[in-house]
Point group: C2
Chain length 166, copies 2
Amino acid sequence: MNTVYQFNPKLDLTFERIVDVPRELVWKAWTQPKHLMPWFCPLPWKTINCEIDLRPGGIFRTVMLSPEGKEYPNLGCYLEVIKNEKLTWTNALTPGFRPAPAATHEGSVDFFFTASIQLAAHGTGTRYTAIVRHGDEAGCKKHADMGFHEGWGKALDQLVAYARKM
Amino acid sequence: MNTVYQFNPKLDLTFERIVDVPRELVWKAWTQPKHLMPWFCPLPWKTINCEIDLRPGGIFRTVMLSPEGKEYPNLGCYLEVIKNEKLTWTNALTPGFRPAPAATHEGSVDFFFTASIQLAAHGTGTRYTAIVRHGDEAGCKKHADMGFHEGWGKALDQLVAYARKM
């Protein structure tokens, strides 16, 4: 499937790295709760709950626990599920493609985004690309200021370390 | 594909009717701009522009013209495209699955919804079902008060009259 997507530097954040783990394992780490929870949050944060229904319209829900013991739920909906290649979800929709409520932002972030992980074979490893799209510049800037690049980098380090033991 | 969707009477509007037009023609009327524009708006409103990229993530854009001559654009993104069976789109995302901007609602409506048209063969005709999901009760009520049922009914009358001449 071709992507409709065009990169917009004012609205999008991107992250790319080559990792020495086959993409099948990266896919597994992203799509099974028991394999996602160990690496998904940069330590000392933890992921204490995860629900995945791996199909367009299906739920993608995580609960993060801060070092202070506060819980941050994230509720989203998958949009594209192409095994070992591409996984796209958004927090602008809840499961069943229902729009997220306008008033409440009870999750970890108070802006909407659509994230896409793309995996391509690279030797014995994987070219790992993440693209995160926002609806406006304010949301994009907020996400960048939260430490997007550092956070995704640390999480990927954790994923790679975990996948090597899978 | 099974639907994740569950009907919620506080958040959803639904519309169902049997029409004496084969579903292939109904599909065509919904998915080609030249066949959509003649019937899409209940007269005396008109649809003066339409852009369709018929795939998940693709654009669904219409411009309506009020009897007073004011233009109302609607921008959305397809989520599910199953030929002659199911068409789902939302205005909570713009093309490429990008979240709609939070601040501006320049379209005909100032709330988000996800609409799904489902078509099933019924004799020589079609069982035509529309389900429109909202994020909160306020949006659902606003949509109902705008005359949802009357509007969809009139538009479907126009679709049937148009399809009989196709």
